[in-house]
Amino acid sequence: MASLARARTALPRTRKIAPFVRTLQTAADSTQLHQDASHSEPFSVKLHEDSFRGYKTDAPSLDLEVTKDGLLKMYKQMALMRRMEQAADSLYRQKLIRGFCHLTIGQEAISVGMEQALTRQDNIISSYRTHPFAVLRGGTVVSLLGELLGRQCGISKGKGGSMHVFTESFQGGHGIVGAQVPLGAGLAFAAKYQEKPVATYTMYGDGASNQGQVFEAFNMAKLWNLPCVFVCENNKYGMGTSAERSSSNTEYYTRGDKIPGIQANGMDILAVVKAVQHTKDWVVSGNGPILLEFVTYRYGGHSMSDPGTTYRTREEVQRMRSTQDPIRGLQRYLEEWGLASEEELKRFDKDAKAQVDQAVEEAKASPLPEDNELWTDIYNKGSEPSYIRGREREEGHHF
């Protein structure tokens, strides 16, 4: 995927370049007002002409209707998610979080933009870089951080950890790379079976995209016309292997064979919202599955144990942070369109920090799970075996 590295200024545009070879641009702040911004009414904006590309389908239109409230809400949510992930980073460094911990810093526009465009009846299922989804779709910052700390207040009672977080409308949180993709096709299968007009967003990364079962799921979804949006979050690296080194075709939105695809700028939250509105309409209108590739970037390493600098340059990371940050992009819209002052936005940032700081304290104050929790939730209540064995024969648990 060359699009991100080349960025918006890289390609000289001449008339000779046909539209289909134009490169997606990933600026976070290239959307323009289409009419004056309103403080009370919805108003329309125009996305940059290179925000999307389509495969076997037209790209979404560039017009998007937004509201001041909606934009402010997304700003606050993105600020909160970044603060939360920074807190997780810090807790990990203090050795309070165990095991693996994968952060979404840099990719906030995707979770927040998706949440803005979807309802709680829609499904989202993803892999292990998913903290924001759990919070945005029914959890709380305390329950998320509590889970990372392995405490009673955790969203999975402290039994799942960072990679395994779930809510009613977010079906995880799965630790085996690629395995969630057939699971997501199954959620869509169930929606179709039950005739529910909902969309299922099945998410995976550029690394997981090469798993065989991803293509198995694509095939069945197209064969059975399942209302499933397969979302590739292309953050350029699967662990330390760049997309170019893992994938013979790095245009992930074209890898569905007969399934159409959309590539979207994953750094401009307004492009994310538009892409999600477009794909949701697509699947709930009975058009079958569609692929959606968000081109994005993770600022940190793959997980906390990866400094993230051995396979890419510090300059590359720094350039992305300083030029294409999704939060700064939305900040710029709000300021330039006269919807919020710098002071107001700073206050939101402070509020987010205060909320996360308090959540950290609450989560830390939550006790470890009761010893008895070892034995529960293996089987559904009332259907357990009469006895579950512990480490030796006298240590088990009788139901």
């Binding site: 198995e216 799921a217 095939n219 293996i378």
Partner: protein, 369 residues
């Protein structure tokens, strides 16, 4: 690729694929468990009626797998279901084990009750990550938030003449996974009552059938014929009472153990034969009670010897008070520790039969003549 070979390319192998016909022939040769007074039903028909009854009872139940609909099932277990319930509820998949096992698991997360058929459990190895990591563990990892009511079923264990890749018993594999229930039925009654229980169970259940048993007829009581006949998962059944030696077996090996018990009876030895029915949970209490009566234990299985079902039963027995009741070392009769050979004479030496079980039972009784 065996699948292609079975149907299209290699006529020589066709008999292996023609499982039902072959099984029917074997059934004709096999002993009949029917008595004159009761209705008899084949294992295949018992499974079929369990599926039909549960699909009638609950419209969330659907069957998904390769060749389950239009072909009526590779072994005809799903025969007629598509005609009765339509292709919405009897879903033919591509040859995509990992994909459709995952898809079915996702559908279970979303509130459906899938019955996911593997043409054989040998092919389920392609999908074992979805069974173990996705289906079995998600309830726990979500702190009880996500449930996964799914049945993975299909023929398991050695069949006849299909060699190493198609002859393997996975009871021990799935039996070791917390979060799964694992059932290995033997008779028609077992199959009906346990499959219905598995479908109604709110947890993921691995249901291990046996191809060689599909065509075998068993008597079915009025009670077992009824729509509400359910057997509890986690309980074994004493198929034959005896006082001299306990023989514990599951699936096809129950037949072989009953053969052995007949032989032993001719020498005045009363063997108690326990049909395990459920691998996980394991009904160790019934086994221990039997040992307290017979003081001897022989475990029979079709799986490989190492780290097997027999190993686990043996370990649990000697860890328990039942150890004090043993008058002889616990004996295991298992599949040989070799990849299943094709040649008929070698294959015969690779799996337990009546004579070897009888021989071992006598050894447990210190009667080696």
């Amino acid at each position: 690729m065996s699948r292609a070979a079975f149907t299209r390319i290699a006529p020589a192998l066709a008999h292996a694929r023609a499982g039902p016909a072959a099984a029917l022939r074997r059934a004709a040769l096999a002993r009949s468990y029917a008595t004159q007074s009761e209705q008899t039903v084949t294992v295949r028909d018992a499974l079929n009626s369990a599926l039909e009854e549960e699909m009638l009872r609950d419209d969330r139940v659907f069957v998904i797998g390769e060749e389950v609909a239009r072909y009526n099932g590779a072994y005809k277990v799903t025969k007629g279901l598509m005609d009765k319930f339509g292709e919405k509820r009897v879903v033919d998949t591509p040859i995509t084990e990992m994909g459709f096992a995952g898809l079915a698991t996702g559908a279970a997360f979303a509130g459906l009750r899938p019955v996911c058929e593997f043409m054989t459990f040998n092919f389920a190895m392609q999908a074992i990550d979805q069974i173990v990591n996705s289906a079995a563990k998600t309830h726990y990892m979500s702190g009880g938030g996500v449930t996964c009511p799914i049945v993975f079923r299909g023929p398991n264990g050695a069949a006849a003449g299909v060699a190493a890749q198609h002859s393997q018993d996975y009871a021990a594999w799935y039996g070791s996974i917390p979060g799964l229930k694992v059932v290995s039925p033997w008779s028609a009654e077992d199959c009906k009552g346990l499959l219905k229980a598995a479908i109604r169970d709110p947890n993921p259940v691995v249901f291990l059938e046996n191809e060689m048993m599909y065509g075998v007829s068993f008597p079915m009581s009025e009670e077992a014929m009824s729509d509400n006949f359910i057997l509890p998962i986690g309980k074994c059944k004493v198929e034959r009472e005896g006082s001299d030696v306990t023989i514990v077996a599951h699936s096809l090996m129950v037949t072989r153990s009953l053969d052995a018990a007949d032989e032993l009876a001719k020498e005045g030895i009363k063997a108690e034969v326990i049909n395990l029915r459920s691998i996980r949970p394991l009904d160790i209490d019934t086994i221990k009670k039997s040992i307290q009566k017979t003081n001897r234990l022989v475990i029979v299985e079709g799986g490989f010897p190492a780290f097997g079902v027999g190993s686990e039963i043996c370990a649990q027995v000697i860890e328990s008070e039942a150890f004090d009741y043993l008058d002889a070392p616990v004996e295991r009769v298992t599949g040989a520790d070799v990849p299943t050979p094709y040649a008929i004479n070698l294959e015969a030496r690779a799996f337990p039969d009546g004579p070897v079980i009888a021989k071992v039972a006598k050894r447990a009784l210190y009667r080696t003549n």
